[in-house]
């Protein structure tokens, strides 16, 4: 077995073990499930996107991104994807890695000014994942990467539909050092990670739905015997397959040349999100009323999907970006555009 496959398998065991129903319920109740985070950190997963030279342990980027997909499959209520990304940016910029949970945000909405030998960063960042629990905030503005360890206060606590923290942060921080900004923008990287999480969660939704329609009996047979149910399930399977392929495309773009990543990630993002909406509607329908309760596990995944599909830029934003580029290619240039975009 390859190192990558071994890592994924170990992470799968860890998630299955630590992110059990009790942990999910606690996280949904607003608790930071610290012992699960510690176990994940212990395994080194938050460093998976950091190169070996920068203090990582040499995980291939595609394997690291497979971890994000797996985290999605568990609707992991912890900022693993965010911390991986933040550490990846810190490592690439030659800055010290984060000691705990971290997130990477775009500096575009902040004021960044030279002060003494360093920089002062001020402003408000909206809906930062797990802001209340972060040890480190990483800001990238296209030219520089900054590491912020102190000087942030939560201005407003909020959560997404899956009770994952999305807080507004008031920032007034001084950074002594900065590094170059490399790779794609925080928004593109964030959207790519969300696509992977979506693909993972959809696989769980499909598995739950297959299990449910096979077990549930009405009219003397299991639901899976009804053709109408089979066809809806086939449609769900199609959505999951499409989202999976879109997520692979986003992952490859993220692992490849940053100059060529934008359109592929935009396309993957749009497509995975649309599939998520369609798939969740089918899964909820096929589960009946039990799926519409907090007793059943389904909602952990569907609520996460309903939020992830609107985070890191909305669908309108990404469609506009891709549509603008396609229109600029013109009718005669459209096909060439499609073959070169991804």
């Amino acid at each position: 077995m390859s190192d990558g496959a071994m890592l994924i398998e170990a992470a799968q065991r860890l998630f299955a073990d630590r992110i059990d129903d009790a942990a999910m319920r606690r996280a949904r109740g607003g608790e930071w499930i610290g012992e699960a985070w510690d176990a994940i950190a212990e395994m080194g997963l938050p460093l998976a996107l950091v190169s070996e030279e920068a203090g990582g342990f040499g995980v291939e980027t595609v394997d690291a991104l497979a971890l994000v997909r797996l985290a999605g499959a568990h609707a992991l209520p912890l900022p693993l994807a965010e911390t991986m990304l933040a550490n990846g940016a810190l490592g690439a910029a030659g800055l010290p890695l984060a000691e705990g949970p971290a997130a990477l945000i775009d500096g575009a909405g902040l004021t960044i000014a030279g002060e003494g030998a360093g920089w002062r960063i001020t402003g408000t960042a909206a809906r930062v994942p797990w802001a209340r629990d972060l040890s480190t905030l990483v800001v990238a503005d296209g030219a520089h990467t900054f590491r912020i360890g102190a000087g942030c206060t939560v201005a407003e606590r909020s959560t997404n539909l899956a009770a994952m923290p999305r807080d507004d942060l008031a920032i007034d921080a001084y950074c002594e050092a900065s590094g170059p900004a490399t790779g794609v923008s925080p928004l593109l990287a964030g959207a790519a990670l969300r696509s992977l999480q979506i693909a993972g969660a959809l696989e769980t939704v499909l598995a739950l739905t297959i299990e449910h329609v096979s077990d549930r009996v009405q009219f003397g047979r299991s639901l899976s015997k009804f053709q109408a149910v089979q066809h809806e399930l086939a449609k769900l399977g199609g959505d999951v397959a499409v989202a999976g392929a879109a997520a692979d495309m986003a992952a490859e773009a993220l692992a490849g040349d940053p100059a060529e990543a934008t359109l592929a990630i935009a396309a993957a993002t749009i497509r995975a999100r649309e599939a998520a909406g369609s798939a969740v509607a089918i899964a909820q329908q096929l589960h009946g009323a039990i799926g519409f309760t907090v007793e059943h596990r389904l909602h952990w995944y569907t609520t996460a999907l309903w939020s992830w599909r609107d985070e890191e830029g909305g669908t309108r934003y990404w469609s506009d970006l891709l549509g603008r580029a396609a229109l600029a290619a013109g009718g005669a240039g459209f096909w060439q555009f499609v073959t070169e975009a991804a």
């Binding site: 499909l206 692979d248 497509r271 990404w318």
Partner: protein
């Protein structure tokens, strides 16, 4: 279970990408004057001369052994040729069916004599095929075929009617699927065989046109009345027709023709939107572009599976189902962005192409396996019975 519907990453193939430029240059030079309306016929466009030129370039039978006129190139190179010709709306019908499925079926199951006689002509773009599967009482339920071949002293005597046979009026050969023995209550699919039918020289075979909804003569009814074919017309093994025909379907279901049927409408739509500053239009074009990019990835992934010798029947069904949803959604997206009355005779390319696409769209979720049949295959692939 989840692995069953994962599509592996299609590899980047340098030779295929180089070929792409050659094909584009060839198309630009060979069909520069083809109208948008004609291009929107997609793979229904018929032009023997064009097919011969494709053959002369070595772009038909590309993956087949050289001894049968093939070129021993990869499935990826073939894929590029196929998608580029379709995207350009080139008139591919004369070679299309033979290159896609009849040739591969013969290559796999045909006798030496059949292969030597027929394959080189396909690769040269000279030989045109049609598919004889559907019958009046046997559509989705292919095993219900009633056309019957009976062994005789001089070969086989065939009686029955095939219907919806695309391009039968032009084709040189048909691969006929029919009954050659009896089914059993336990096995409805038993007792079927495939035959190579010479469309031009089979006494007792008559081909009648059926005009389709779009007003075109595309498909036909093919009636066999005690038609005599030689003993050597049997393809593969007597009684194995079902297994043979099923292996043909993965080739028939996963290609780019399953999502490019309405590409010409997208092209005209984008052309018509030039200069507009509608953010509604940008978002809509962005969305459909995303769909197309991902569909193309799925289809290329299936091509890789075929190249590796796997049988991606489930994946092919997913591609065709998703592809048809996409193709059929395009007219409504276009209609939401531009007000135009569909009219094939219109001088506006957009209006004419819209008409052709609207009229032909219903067929895309029927031919090659209906949406409902595909969904059944996918559900079974996911473990449901």
């Amino acid at each position: 279970m989840m692995d069953a519907i994962r599509f592996s990453s299609p590899p980047r193939h340098e030779a295929a990408e180089a070929l792409r430029h050659e094909v584009r240059a060839f198309l630009a030079e060979t069909i520069p004057a083809r109208t948008p309306l004609a291009r929107s016929d997609s793979w229904n466009g018929y032009d023997r001369d064009f097919s011969r030129k494709m053959g002369a370039r070595g772009w038909l039978g590309m993956t087949w052994p050289k001894q049968y006129g093939g070129h021993e190139r990869s499935a990826f190179e073939r894929y590029v040729v196929v998608e580029e010709t379709l995207a350009a709306g080139a008139p591919v019908l004369s070679h299309w069916i033979a290159d896609r499925q009849s040739g591969p079926t013969l290559l796999r199951f045909g006798t030496e004599e059949q292969k030597g006689r027929v394959l080189p002509g396909i690769a040269a773009g000279e030989t045109c095929f049609c598919i004889g599967m559907s019958e009046p009482d046997s559509g989705s339920d292919l095993a219900a075929t009633r056309t019957r071949a009976v062994r005789s002293a001089d070969g086989w005597r065939i009686t029955g009617t095939k219907i919806w046979t695309s391009n039968a009026h032009n084709a040189d050969y048909m691969i006929l699927f029919c009954r050659s023995g009896d089914s059993t209550p336990a096995d409805r699919q038993a007792g079927t065989s495939q035959f190579l039918i010479d469309m031009k020289n089979t006494p007792g075979l008559t081909v009648r046109p059926i005009i389709d909804l779009a007003g075109q003569h595309h498909f036909n009814e093919c009636h066999f009345e005690d038609a005599l074919v030689p003993a050597g017309a049997l393809i593969g093994t007597e009684g194995q027709g079902w297994q043979q025909v099923m292996s043909e379907l993965a080739f028939e279901r996963s290609g780019p023709e399953r999502f490019l049927s309405s590409i010409q409408l997208i092209v005209e739509l984008i052309a018509a939107l030039q200069g507009s500053d509608s953010d509604l239009a940008r978002a809509a074009i962005g969305r459909l572009t995303a769909h197309l990019i991902v569909l193309r990835r799925l289809s290329r992934s299936v091509a890789a599976m075929l190249e590796a010798g796997e049988n991606p029947a489930l994946h092919a069904a997913i591609v065709k189902d998703q592809g048809a949803l996409f193709e059929q959604a395009i007219p409504d997206i276009a209609r939401s962005l531009i007000d135009a009355e569909p009219d094939r005779a219109a001088t506006s390319n957009y209006n004419a192409v819209l008409a052709n696409i609207v009229l032909n769209a219903p067929s895309w979720s029927l031919r090659g396996g209906t949406r409902e049949i595909l969904r059944g295959i996918i559900a079974r692939g996911l473990g449901l019975r």
